[in-house]
Symmetry: C2
Subunit: 140 residues, 2 copies
């Protein structure tokens, strides 16, 4: 079940877990859609901040995909959590870079938004500074 | 610009090329959508053939993505070339497995078909046995 993907000069190993006949030598393929989204928007943000002479001290991106209940198993929603640490004075630049990526540059996000909700939270120095995730309404 | 993606327990390095400020330590993110598509349908096909006691001797999958001319740069069409080698008597099984993957199981393909044409060729022992790529009409 192992496939070695050659992606612009780099080899990426994909494999299936043992329970479906693979040997787990690499990730399963489907989450690479989430990987593409994280890298696309992440690199946008770093590039945009750099243009303004800024850079986060640390930058972590988590992408969660909700999958369909019936085959074909596909993503039906995605949620991104951007976690950045850096100077407090760079917070607005960081938020601005997220907006520019999401509204203008990130082709993977733009593509996915045509077929599913794509939402995001922005955490800066441990504080939530933005979210567009619709919260479930709690029945009281 | 380097991001290390943790994908079901495996680390995948993404990076940008040097001309845009990276160090080319890994693939750029966007083609991971193509990688996801190749692995998803490839593993389907191997699994389906195995259930029938078959296995290709070699199996290569090429996925080409056509990108938009304006930002956000996104895929607007994808074409898959399946290249399989194996027993001539397994040709119909191989073709059948491709059909089942494309029509029933491959969630990545199903997802992408909602927003762009996804077409495929099947080569078996060097011969084209199927294509659904619409050929350009040649003006005479």
């Amino acid at each position: 079940m192992q496939f070695n993907a050659l992606v612009n000069g780099h080899t990426i190993v994909m494999d299936a877990p043992e329970r479906v006949g693979g040997e787990d030598h690499g990730p399963i393929p489907k989450p690479f859609v989430l990987t593409a989204l994280s890298g696309c928007t992440g690199m946008d943000i770093v590039a945009i901040m750099r243009k303004n002479g800024k850079q986060p001290d640390s930058f972590n991106i988590k992408v969660e995909g909700e999958i369909s209940k019936q085959p074909p198993i596909e993503y039906v929603a995605m949620h991104i959590t951007y976690e950045m640490e850096g100077n407090e004075s760079d917070k607005d630049d960081a938020m601005n870079a997220v907006n520019i990526s999401q509204e203008k540059y990130c082709g993977v996000s733009h593509m996915l938004k045509k077929i599913m909700p794509v939402t995001w939270d922005v955490m800066y120095n441990g504080h939530l500074i933005f979210t567009n995730k619709k919260e479930a309404v709690l029945a009281v």
